[in-house]
Amino acid sequence: MRRVSALVSVFVLILASLGLVLAGPGSAQPKTELTVALSSFSTEVLDPPLGGHLVKYYLSMMFDYLVGTTPDGQLSREGGLATRWESSPDFKRWTFYLRKGVKFHNGDEVTAEDVKFSIMRNIGKRSTTGYAGPLRTLIADIETPASDRVVIITKEPTLIIPTYLSRSLSTEGMITPKKYIESVGDDVFARKPIGSGPYRFVEQVTGSHIKLAAVDNHWRIGTPKYKTMTFRLVPEEATRIALLRRGEVDVVEVSRDRVKEVEKEGYPIHYRREEAILTMWWILGPDGRVGPSKDKRVREAMNLAIDRAEIAQSIFGGKAEPAAIPLGLSWSFKDVGFKQTPDMLYPYDPARAKKLLADAGLASGFNLDVYAYQLPGLPEGKTMAEAVAGYWEKVGIKTRLIPVDYPAFRKAWFDRSAPGMVGYFNIANRDWIGAYALLEKQAYSASKPSDTVNDAEIDGMLSQVMRQTDREKINTLMRGVYGRLRSEHLGVPVVYLHSPYATSKTLGSWNAGSVMYDLFFDVLASGK
């Protein structure tokens, strides 16, 4: 009988606690805290060289870059440790002049030695960052002639050094404390990271959250508006929106199809316009392009067969724009003076697509395997693949959807084990150097295994970009590459994706910027 009573007591207790909670109001968010709910933290590693290429949201709060950028991706003398930089006439020596009096969170001053140590560490062999490989190949030596001066010596003339070490790309330019890392080791540093950014590390609970606290009067943002900044990992969208409604978070990622509903409730929606280009490509064979896509008419037909406006509207809820240039990162267009004219947009013309296929001797179509998979930031991935395959079916191409996960596609792509098959990716938009870095990997034949474009003319232009130090000539070459990608139909650009973020009603204006994998919460927190 006693056991039964105990059970009843437990039940009553639970009901009582439920009642207490139901009676209480939802916890109000103090204005001095900023809480951001994200669907993924990527690797959750807090060490720049290991944090990889997708985690700048919180790392850029803790660490300063050698070269800063504005939220729209322009290199800035105000946003980084270097207040100015210059190259030698042969573009093989880059000198960076460091801001004086900047301190790490443990009180140590940031010196040229820290910068040298950080860069070497960030591009070292164990690094998994986006551009460690090219920088490792390019950098011959780093000199520190004074405590506030760093000279980077390259093996070849180059213009890319400031951008590659800036906030506009990956994490190679993040500066970490040499003495601290050497004394505690890499493992301890990854758990208790110290940087010189406007927010210092407080706590990480893997799978749950990362909490940061503001540094008083930081050179980047002055007296911060938010004393703490917490990044919460909330994979489920319904939960993120519920947290926003309850006032527990201030910024959440929302999917394109729930934007209207959230907006209707009065929550401001901030867009990162054209944050990524969703583009498809054919896997090359071991020795280059094989199969029907070798024929330019087939490539054009496959582009004309797709109704991009319909895809943008019905699959992406109108939060996307038709794309015209294969691998065309639109943020770089203005940098190089490339103008995407209306006639470059592929019309939806299945009749002409059929004619082109017939002209190519494929009137009865051909077999085409289409990989279908989801991607981070692209929950619509499989639906889009199904829709595109459906359009191709309509013009006689016999498509077969192959449901896989992305790594399986990437392996087939890199191994060239499925020549002619089609896959896709939502490539983050970026500036011209970032765009060049992408093209070098995906459109330059020598860059096996990631090459997706086999075109001698493009190879020639890209190889010149590498050696060129005259910006005008670079712009001309880049415009040439984009023009050729479009005129030869060297891929299937689908849409540019706008990424929506919902914020609390009291957050105010926020410029999420246009730098890949960064949301510039420091600018939002700035008291300057």
Partner: protein, 306 residues
């Protein structure tokens, strides 16, 4: 008894050894984790470096022996994704899962006992039918759907309870209820059928004839004897709640073992997958061992028969 115990422990160890091979092979059969870890721009050299650094360039047999050898000392290696010792990650997540499972099981027991017993006692009445409906719904409604509905309405629209994360007792209610409902259904049905059988037995009739108070007959004499299958079910389900609450932990942003498994699988983090599966298997094996021993203690015929 000792021989019986030793035999069961050995059986459990053999099961764990087999599982270690299976999980090692299957984890690698899913593909190469470097295609997720490294950026699109990574070169072949980057792949080779990362493979070497992460120890993935060694022969499979060597990798397996190294994994088993270290696992025996409690070292499950380093997570490929989080770059932290896997043992540490499990140490962080397992208590969260345990706490949630304890809460869910408490809720389940607190609901299942009165419902199950009263459904049997009031067989055929409205109460019985209500209990049956609760039971059918609990076992047939998908957990993810229940979880999403609770988040959407109870947390989001009505704002009665927290939507996710661990922040005080109130944050346990929605995930605990979601997890517990399925168990309530099972426990209640077992209790009801067990009670119906016992209530019809000779000794209960005798107790009633002797004039024993009806409440005492139900809650002491009958319930006690209907409990054996319930205890077994609850024990096994507790292990399941601790180890497989992937959906609930994902929806409610609960940093538990289930989420760790999900993260490990989606990023092909072999050391994490191996460690979580082995930990899960060990927990289930220990619970089963405990249940077996309990049986053997309760009923000597069982240990002799084996």
């Amino acid at each position: 008894m000792l021989r019986f115990l030793v035999a069961r422990v050995l059986q459990s160890l053999v099961v764990l050894a087999i599982i270690s091979v299976v999980v090692f092979v299957l984890a690698r059969a899913t593909g190469d984790p470097l295609y997720l870890i490294l950026p699109m721009s990574a070169s072949q050299e980057d792949f080779d470096n990362a493979r070497r650094y992460l120890g993935l360039d060694r022969p499979y047999v060597e990798q397996y022996l190294s994994f088993v050898g270290r696992a025996l000392t409690g070292d499950f290696g380093t997570s490929l994704r989080a770059r932290r010792p896997v043992g540490e990650l499990i140490g962080e997540r397992l208590p969260n899962s345990l706490k949630l499972a304890v809460f869910a099981m408490t809720v389940s027991l607190a609901m299942a006992f009165p419902l199950g017993v009263m459904a049997a006692v009031k067989k055929g009445t409205g109460l019985d039918r209500t209990a049956q409906i609760v039971s059918v719904l609990g076992q047939s409604l998908p957990t993810f759907w229940v979880a999403i509905l609770l988040v959407e309405f109870v947390a989001g629209r009505w704002q009665w309870l927290p939507a996710g994360g661990i922040d005080g007792l109130s944050s346990y209610i929605l995930p605990g209820f979601t997890l517990g409902w399925f168990v309530v259904a099972g426990l209640m049905r077992l209790l009801r059928s067990g009670m119906l059988e016992v209530l019809d037995s000779e000794y209960v009739k005798l107790a009633r004839l002797k004039g024993v108070d009806e409440r005492r007959v139900i809650w002491m004499h009958a319930l006690r004897n209907a409990l054996i299958p319930v205890v077994t079910f609850a024990g096994i389900y507790f292990a399941i709640l601790v180890t497989t609450a992937i959906v609930v932990e994902t929806v409610f942003a609960w940093p538990g073992l289930g989420r760790l498994a999900y993260e490990g699988i989606s990023s092909r983090d072999f050391p994490v997958i191996q460690a979580v599966v082995l930990t899960t298997a060990a927990i289930v094996a220990v619970v089963n061992l405990g249940v077996d021993c309990l049986y053997a203690l309760i009923d000597p015929r069982i240990r002799h028969a084996r």
